[in-house]
């Protein structure tokens, strides 16, 4: 009874994300029109059979651009959260396992970085270092690191003296082996759940940076960029240019949230009530 909705949200989340991955791969080899070239149709054509999602001001095909955008939005989100997961958990495990001065140094810096509004920091840095996929990935993973570190620290600290950790020490494992081979894998549940939630956040921030014209070159078919390009059209009734990229974001971000919820339930049986 309690398991049914659990599997349900996990399954939907995974299916949607699978569809996005497929879309990203397909767009590498085929899109209906060239997403980068203007003038494949007239300016601001409403959705029709020829152009299912219409065309934008420059006469580019919205569907093709949307498909090509999947590479950017999904790719940035995935790489950024994996990077943050690896670095953040490593810091957290060290802080939680060794304690003492190491812990204080790591935890205090984490607290200070957490007090800094992440989105603003991203805006400041991206403006300064300039647009580009790599820059965005680095900034977005950087603002995620404190959360992972705090989470991993709490998990490892609470299990440091559990019998299985003692046992691992007794048979002669080195301390880093106990921390990373035994304690970290047992803390992965909450970390993975957070990773999924974080991926949703990262994709929203990516789109926000794109919308502000900070993320990537303005012609890049990133979804936030596309919404910005259609903004004027909305005022004159050409809603489709901005509307569909929003739905694409909704699907991807929603799927990450669903998956994250399901993973959090799995990691914490008390939540399964």
């Amino acid at each position: 009874m309690t398991r049914a909705p659990l599997a349900w949200s996990m399954r939907i989340g995974l299916c949607i994300l699978g569809a996005y991955v497929a879309l990203a791969l397909i767009s590498l080899v085929w899109t209906p029109y060239d997403p980068l070239s203007p003038g494949v149709g007239d300016s601001f054509l409403p959705p029709s059979v020829e152009f299912p999602l219409g065309t934008d001001r420059l006469g580019s095909d919205v569907l093709s651009r949307l498909m090509a955008g999947t590479q950017y939005n999904l790719g940035i989100a995935l790489v950024a959260v994996i990077l943050a997961l690896v670095i953040g958990s490593a810091l957290g495990v060290v802080a939680g396992y060794y304690g003492g001065a190491t812990d204080i140094a790591i935890s205090r810096s984490v607290e200070i970085f957490q007090a800094f509004p992440g989105v603003l920091f991203a805006m400041l840095v991206v403006k300064a270092v300039g647009p580009g996929v790599l820059n965005i990935i680095l900034v977005l993973s950087f603002i995620g690191i404190p959360d992972y570190a705090r989470l991993a620290r709490a998990e490892v600290q609470s299990r440091r003296n559990w019998p299985y950790a003692e046992a691992a020490r007794m048979v002669g494992n080195r301390s880093w082996q106990v921390a990373f081979r035994h304690l970290l894998p047992n803390s992965m549940g909450p970390l993975l759940a957070f990773t999924s939630i974080n991926a949703a956040f990262v994709s929203l921030v990516t789109a926000s940076l794109g919308f502000l014209g900070l993320g990537l070159n303005p012609n890049t078919p990133e979804w936030g960029n596309m919404i910005a390009r259609g903004q004027d059209g909305v005022m004159t009734g050409e809603w489709w240019v901005s509307f569909f990229p929003g739905l694409a974001i909704l699907g991807m971000t929603g799927a990450f949230y669903l998956l994250g919820d399901a993973l959090a339930d799995l990691a914490d049986p008390r939540r399964r009530r």
Binding site: F113, A115, P117, L120, L124, K127, W239
Partner: protein
Amino acid sequence: MIRLILQRLLWALPVALGVVTITFITARLFGGDPTELFAPPEATDELRAQIRERLGLADPMWMQYLRYLADVARFDFGISFSTNQAVSTDLTERLPATLELGLTGLGLGALIGIPLGVFAAVKRERVPDFLVRGFTLAGMALPQFWIGLVLIWIFFVTLGWFPGPVGRLPIEVRPPEPITGFMLIDLALLGDWSSWRLALWQLVLPAVTLAIASMAPIARVTRASMVEALQSDYIRTAVAMGHGERVLWFRYALRNALLPVITLIGVLAGNVFGGAVLLESIFGWPGLGQYALQAIEGSDFAALQGFVIYAALLYVITFLLVDVLYIVIDPRMRHA
């Protein structure tokens, strides 16, 4: 309790220092050479050196850092290139517009989100619960700026029910001399009720956008927290004692379930300043966010840096208030 609050207040100081330091490092590492902004392209090396000297860039880094700290402590963020005013004056002038929109939107979000969460929790695993969860999931998964654009498209462009995104007043109405800076309060003080109505109408769409975006997480957290509270022993006792449903939900369960919700509202309030950049750009709202966006577009680093520090400090203060509030309302914290 007093000691706990004082400790918390003291911890805010190193955090604020850290925030200011991060901004300094980011600006120095990535901000480029400010000399270039003042020197004409054909300037000689000698002239450049003079400019560097005058800007204080020739001093060692630690001296620049200390001077910067002293400036920030006096709320002096330098002069903005685009407005030619002190950045701190600019920021203070624009703060009320952002607060007016932020408080209205967040208040509206809490007013709808909390009852919605309670409703979903008492109807758990039934149709209303699934509807609320679906709705709130969408509210969290959509970018705020997109929600704003869609509201403009529906309610301004298509239906014409609300005015266009031109800021706090229609273009033809002259804004009053600021008294408090809050448009609705100022116009009420002046007794100009026809303009007051227009200003209220301008506020609706941006405030609703913010309300939708903040209502979603508030409803979700309220629901989760209520579900837990409703399963607790004290509720079972209260049921056994024959209390009515409404008393149970609102007087006993909700009161205990509200703590995480308050934390969340604090976080959302802190995020209002960051989110303002996007929201205000869509609605032409002349607040801090639009100022920051102009600074970004014009590469006006003094202004951008001032905004980031300002927003970060407001963020730190908001969290401080939430923590203090927590200590005051949670009896367990008082004796910790």
